[in-house]
Structure formats: structure tokens, C-alpha cells
């Protein structure tokens, strides 16, 4: 059996490990246009922050490809798929035959059209190791940095470079930071914390025009000057390889719960796909590393003939800034229970006897117990909800259940 994987990140690694659970011998080939050993994409901000280095941020050990019998084409781009002859064509003309193909091409930064952007020389996006290295070269302790986008990626970038530049201004069209994962109150707490580091926020505003290489005017008429510009307003899934050959694509590549696309023998996983968010009954792109890994693993096991389904997808985020931690999961449409306590904030959202979402800020201890209630669609009437509201704890479950989880009873 010949397995070919396009991509070399979480989705791809999950696939290799999934295949090898079932098939120890099949030939595996990885193609990636990034020239590196598989690395952890989220760690690029930690690299600039000084919390990791290029060796430690490798997502798997140096021996990973050898241990798993993987042949790699790194620094090579897949330009098309020939589905009739089951071949992947690379930018240098190489053709690679597959029996089963995984597309784990991830996403790319979205840079909206902005008037005068071409005048700006020092502009960066923040997605890849090369982006991080380029940004690192451009900044110094006298830099004024303008970051457009107060979402997860923009703010992680801010944390990464904060101690290495003079000033950072973050601008977002939204009225609050991290709008995709935080409510108004939570967002304010986190913003205040980041502001303590001297970061300035301009919210509810956007760039109207770049008037020179170092200046911009906002819609609300503010004049901004900067040395370095980072654009982090969002990402777009890399769906083209599948779309071009008639594969079904919605917001992202459409797959079933075994990660098959609409084209025979072609699978997809990770940020390039859409999945069913079980807390909102909606197809969404859940661009998160754990999801990418688990989809990849499911795809790999399925490709190798095993059985596995990926049907418990939920949005979930763990993110922190300067030692202040946030964990969120699910969706926030339902009845709310809110508790504020100094720097800590908790919101639990329930609907139809289920926990469907939560926000924890500050004290995030044992949050996974909440996540599990959401993922497993646990009826709240079957546990002691008052105890769970107080804090995540196994005490809220029945003795019998604990006898299974902790006591080893079958």
C-alpha cells in the first residue's frame, strides 16, 4: 500500500501515527512546501518569546521519519492531483503515485485588500517558522509595531515580541479582543492584563489607508506611525488541490466522520477541512491543533483499513498571555452561570440538560473535566451539577462511575 500525505504538520503526523497503528509496512510519503522537520506551528510565538528553540519546538523527535518509515519531499509544493491516475504532481514536475492520499494542507493568512498596503515595506504575517524568523530580523528594541488583528494569532504574536520592541499598537475592527472565544467581560479582563505590559489597543476601528511606508490613517481619523506591520486578521483554508478536481468544498474541504473527502481514496484533515461542531450543530472550521491531530489519526487508521470515527469535534482553546491563562470550549448560546472572583472569571453555559460551553480565566485548574462533559454530551441531571459549578471535580459523578474511572471496575 502506498500512502501519500500533503502537509507535514499536526494533521500529517496524526495520519502517520494512525497508519502505523494498523499497517507497519506500507510505504508513506510526506510532501511539504516548508523545508523543515515537522515543527509545532503554535510555538512560533514562544520561539520569539524565548520559551523554546528550533530544536525543542520540533513536534516529533528527529528520528520520527526514520522510525515510521516515512519518505519526505520537503521544500516541494504539490501543484495538482491527478485523481484518475492517482498521482500527485509537484512543482518540479515529480509525479508521486498513491493508493491513499491525505490532504492536510492547513491554512494560510488572509490579508484583506487595504488601500496603500503596497507602500509598506516592513509587513509580515504570522503563520510559519519562516514568518517568525523574518519578523525577528525586522524588530529591535526601538521598533514601533502595528498589529492588525486582536485574535488568537495576533495576540500570541504580541506576547512573543513584547519584550523585544519599544511599543506595540493592536488594532481590530471588533469592539473587543479575542471575539471568537471570549464574551465582553472576559475579554475586558484579558485586555486589561495585556495593557499592563504597555500594549495599546485601538478597537472598533480599522486602517482606511496606508499613506506611506510607515504611516496609516484609520477609518475614525487616527494617524498611526509604525516601523513594522503585522497583519493577523484571519486565515483561509488551503482547499484548492481538492476543489480543482471537483471535490466537495464548503467553508473548508468537506469530509465524513472517517475523514474521507467526496473523491475516492482521498482523505483530508486539519485546518483545511470543516467539521461538525457538536455544540452548535453547525459546520465550522475548527482550526486547532488537537483537532488536526485527531482528524489526521482517524484518516490514517481509515486509510490503512482500520475503524475509527472523528465525531466529537468541539471548538476548544487554551491560550495565555504573560502568565494569565484562558481556557474555553464549546459555544455560548444557552443559560449562563457566571462567577467573578478577583482576577478569575468563570462562565458555564447550559442548554437542554447539557453543558455546551464554558469560559475560564485565571483559575483554569482541571478544565478538562468540563470539556469532557461537553464532548460526551453528558446529561447534567446524571451528575451533581452544584458541585460541578463550584469547580471541576470527579466528586460530582456517581460512586459507581468513579469505581470505573478510578477503581478499575469494568
Amino acid at each position: 500500500m502506498k500512502y501519500v500525505i500533503i502537509g507535514n504538520s499536526a494533521g500529517a503526523v496524526g495520519c502517520v501515527e494512525g497508519i502505523r497503528q494498523v499497517d507497519k509496512d506500507g510505504e508513506i510519503t510526506i510532501i511539504s512546501n516548508e523545508p523543515y522537520h515537522t515543527y509545532s506551528r503554535p510555538l512560533i510565538s514562544y520561539l520569539l518569546y524565548g520559551k523554546t528553540d528550533e530544536q525543542r519546538m520540533k513536534y516529533r523527535p528527529d528520528s520520527f521519519y526514520e522510525d515510521n518509515g516515512v519518505k519526505t519531499y520537503l521544500g516541494k509544493e504539490a501543484v495538482s492531483i491527478d485523481k484518475d491516475n492517482k498521482k500527485v504532481i509537484l512543482n518540479d514536475g515529480t509525479e508521486i503515485c498513491y493508493d491513499k492520499l491525505l490532504v492536510a494542507t492547513g491554512s494560510r493568512p488572509f490579508v484583506p485588500p487595504m488601500d496603500g498596503l503596497d507602500k509598506v515595506e516592513n509587513k509580515f504575517t504570522f503563520m510559519t517558522l519562516d514568518d517568525a524568523k523574518a519578523l525577528e530580523k525586522a524588530i529591535n528594541k526601538d521598533s514601533n509595531v502595528l498589529v492588525i488583528g486582536a485574535g488568537l494569532i495576533g495576540l500570541k504574536c504580541v506576547e512573543g515580541i513584547c519584550d523585544r520592541v519599544k511599543h506595540i499598537t493592536v488594532m481590530d475592527l471588533a469592539e473587543r479582543i479575542l471575539p471568537s472565544i471570549l464574551d465582553k467581560d472576559g475579554s475586558e479582563l484579558v485586555r486589561k492584563h495585556i495593557e499592563k505590559k504597555g500594549v495599546e489597543f485601538i478597537l472598533g476601528d480599522s486602517v482606511a489607508q496606508f499613506t506611506s511606508a510607515n504611516t496609516a490613517v484609520s477609518k475614525n481619523g487616527l494617524e498611526l506611525s509604525f516601523d513594522v506591520l503585522v497583519v493577523a486578521v484571519g486565515v483561509r483554508p488551503n482547499v484548492e488541490l481538492v476543489k480543482d478536481i471537483g471535490g466537495e468544498v464548503g467553508r473548508g474541504i468537506v469530509t465524513d466522520e472517517r475523514c474521507r473527502t467526496s473523491i475516492p481514496d482521498i482523505y483530508a484533515a486539519g485546518d483545511c477541512t470543516e467539521s461538525m461542531d457538536i455544540t452548535a450543530d453547525q459546520m465550522r472550521i475548527l482550526a486547532l491543533l488537537p483537532n488536526a491531530y485527531m482528524q489526521g489519526e482517524t484518516a490514517g487508521i481509515t486509510m490503512a483499513g482500520g475503524t475509527k470515527v472523528y465525531d466529537k469535534a468541539i471548538p476548544m482553546n487554551a491560550i495565555g498571555f504573560f502568565g494569565y491563562h484562558i481556557i474555553t470550549a464549546g459555544s455560548y448560546d444557552g443559560e449562563e452561570y457566571v462567577k467573578k472572583d478577583g482576577d478569575s472569571y468563570k462562565k458555564l453555559v447550559t442548554r437542554d440538560d447539557r453543558l455546551v460551553g464554558y469560559i475560564l480565566i485565571g483559575n483554569v485548574e482541571r478544565a478538562g473535566i468540563y470539556t469532557s462533559l461537553i464532548r460526551e454530551k453528558r446529561p447534567l441531571s446524571s451528575i451533581d451539577f452544584d458541585l460541578i459549578k463550584e469547580k471541576p471535580q470527579l466528586m460530582a459523578f456517581s460512586k459507581r462511575e468513579r469505581a470505573k474511572t478510578l477503581g478499575g471496575m469494568k
Binding site: G14, S40, P42, L43, Y46, K51, T52, R56, M57, K58, Y59, R60, P61, L289, P290, Y293, M294, E297, M316, N317, A318, I319, G320, G323, H325, I327, A329, V364, E365, R366, A367, G368, I369, T371, S372, L387, P392, Q393, L394, M395, K399, R402, A403, T405, L406, G407, G408
Partner: protein, 142 residues
């Protein structure tokens, strides 16, 4: 594989397992010196409510969500034991978000720690088991 199992009927709520865990992972060879004047941060934790108490530590899951979720590759499976490479961990808390039993927590330096069945310290056998005076924690193949 041998795992740690607890029997809550036998748990006295004495917290000795927590102290034994903290000692085993302190790198010191004298329990009194290791634990004197410090707030312990053990990898096994007692939950208590009314008259019920029990110890919770990593289940070494067959489907370890922590490992699958770890963004850095710091968590891995080695012969069934779920272990952490603290040198790689960046303290992002994604594993805390993922573990269904609440068994990973930060150490005093902000990177994660978890029960590794005393495979990396001088304990040899899980120390909490040795320390439990009432055999409420056992280390067995089941």
C-alpha cells in the same frame, strides 16, 4: 499494564499519598528535609466532600487525549506510560483543557507535571501506594 487504582471506601482522607508523591519527586533523600516549610504540589490529589474522599492521579489512558492535544509534542506514550518532557513543554495548558480527569497541572516553574508512575524518580514503585496506610491505593494489573 500495571496501573494505579483507588478504592474510595478505604480512603481515610489523610493526604499521606500527596506527601509521598511530593517527596518522591523532590529529588531529596530525606522526607522531612524535602517537605519542611514548603507548600507541596503533588501529582496525586485528594478530593473530599462530606464523608467521601479519594485520590486522583493520571489514568494512563489508552486513548490519551492529553498526548493527542499537546501542541508541542512534550507528552508521549512510552510502553503505555504517559510521560512528559518538561524541557519541551511551554505551559500552554492545552493538556489541562483536554484531560477528562483533571490530572495534569503546572509545576512551580509553569510547565506541566503529571503522574509518571514513579518511573523517572528514585521511587521505583509508585510512592503514593507505598505511603497509603490503608491500602486505598494499589498498583496492579487488571
Amino acid at each position: 499494564m500495571k496501573r494505579i487504582y483507588v478504592n474510595e471506601k478505604w480512603c481515610l482522607g489523610c493526604h499521606l499519598c500527596e506527601y509521598y508523591c511530593a517527596f518522591a519527586n523532590s529529588g531529596k533523600d530525606d522526607m522531612v528535609k524535602a517537605l519542611k516549610n514548603i507548600t507541596i504540589n503533588p501529582r496525586i490529589r485528594i478530593e473530599e466532600h462530606n464523608n467521601i474522599s479519594f485520590a486522583v492521579s493520571c489514568r494512563h489512558c489508552e486513548e490519551p487525549l492529553c498526548v493527542k492535544s499537546c501542541i508541542s509534542g512534550a507528552l508521549s506514550v512510552n510502553d503505555g506510560i504517559i510521560s512528559i518532557n518538561q524541557d519541551k513543554c511551554v505551559g500552554c495548558f492545552t493538556c489541562v483543557l483536554a484531560c477528562p480527569y483533571g490530572c495534569v497541572m503546572p509545576n512551580d516553574d509553569g510547565v506541566m507535571q503529571k503522574c509518571e508512575l514513579c518511573t523517572k524518580n528514585a521511587g521505583g514503585q509508585p510512592y503514593c501506594v507505598q505511603g497509603c496506610p490503608n491500602k486505598a491505593i494499589v498498583f496492579e494489573e487488571r
